[in-house]
Symmetry: C2
């Protein structure tokens, strides 16, 4: 709260953060500027002092939130040495509700909103592509690491394998956050691990307690 610039930056982030929270629990369609203002503890007018329009704010908020998620995962992964353990951690973090300390809907619900929006909003479409490709590269890096260390025996191109893993995670996660009675959090985790083992070529150790 010292210089105007720093203050401006704070507000900007605060608002994005508030917006992400509101979108997460009401959905894009039910998000009003006044909701965001309330969540941020400021007046509605201020929102449009920092953002040129509601539309741009919403797109930025979606990008921002997904960015946060990526960064968190990225930081965690980097601290793990074994490719197999990196992979396991990535899967743990990707399965909605698997780690109780993280929320359930949160990230994935926002992704679906991104998809819908990207169909018609060019800016959002560009951001989405960047986010998705970065996510797949991260998986590809893990795969390459495992191939180099001999932990994974699959001979195919790492980017191709990463695409397959990313796709199955997306597809299953959708069912889980939809609360499909046949696709539970636990089932998704098990299936994803098995598919990963088969796809990348490694032996699955028996599930932990």
């Amino acid at each position: 709260m010292s210089t105007p610039n720093a203050k401006g930056k704070d507000r900007h982030q605060e608002i994005l953060d508030a917006a992400a929270r509101v979108i997460t629990d009401r959905g894009l369609a039910e998000t009003r500027i006044s909701d965001i203002a309330e969540q941020a503890g400021v007046s509605p007018g201020l929102i449009l002092y920092y953002f040129e329009s509601k539309d741009r704010l919403l797109s930025e908020a979606l990008t921002f939130a997904n960015d946060q998620f990526y960064l968190r995962m990225s930081r965690e992964i980097r601290r793990i040495a074994s490719a197999r353990e990196q992979l396991r951690r990535m899967i743990d973090l990707s399965v909605p509700g698997y780690l109780p300390e993280y929320g359930r809907l949160d990230e994935w619900a926002l992704w679906i909103e991104v998809w819908v929006r990207a169909l018609r909003d060019t800016e959002m479409a560009k951001d989405r592509e960047v986010l998705d490709q970065r996510w797949r590269s991260q998986i590809a890096d893990i795969v390459r690491g495992g191939q180099a260390s001999g932990e994974f025996t699959a001979p195919q191109d790492a980017d191709e394998l990463a695409l397959r893993l990313a796709a199955i995670i997306d597809g299953l996660a959708i069912q889980v956050i939809m609360n499909d009675s046949l696709v539970t959090t636990e089932r998704m985790h098990r299936t994803t691990m098995e598919v990963a083992a088969q796809t990348l070529g490694f032996q699955l150790e028996p599930a932990a307690g």
Copy 2:
């Protein structure tokens, strides 16, 4: 246009159909009652004579459209004898834009709208689960057929295998309709076929010309 009942039924369907078309090309968020009326060639007032609210109409329209898609695929598949050919046909129909005679966005774009909506609308959530499970059963039936005939050698439970295939198709289809530069229609088709072959246990014949 003879009896009132038949007329009523026609209108009902006509409106659902018009709604599905409008949603497909403008998106749920940008769909107005007047747009649907215009598309159907009737006055706005009539829409609410046949549906109790815009909300219910939209949900019904989404369900209706996805139902149509399912029925079309179901009919096609049933006429094919070999499980491998059934599978191939199912994949051809599922890859957005692969068969030029069908549209590109159409079905899948509607699915994403269903997902967003199902997160908050209980009715939609129920319909989605039915639609999704039916879709997975259809795949499971193909898998079971192939296992019985010996075309597929994978020993796992057909429902589990179907879930994996459905998930990877969903995950890839999203990227394709998002126009991701790295996930083209052709790549999705190739990848899906390869994954199917590996997952179900059959030999992939070299791609046709």
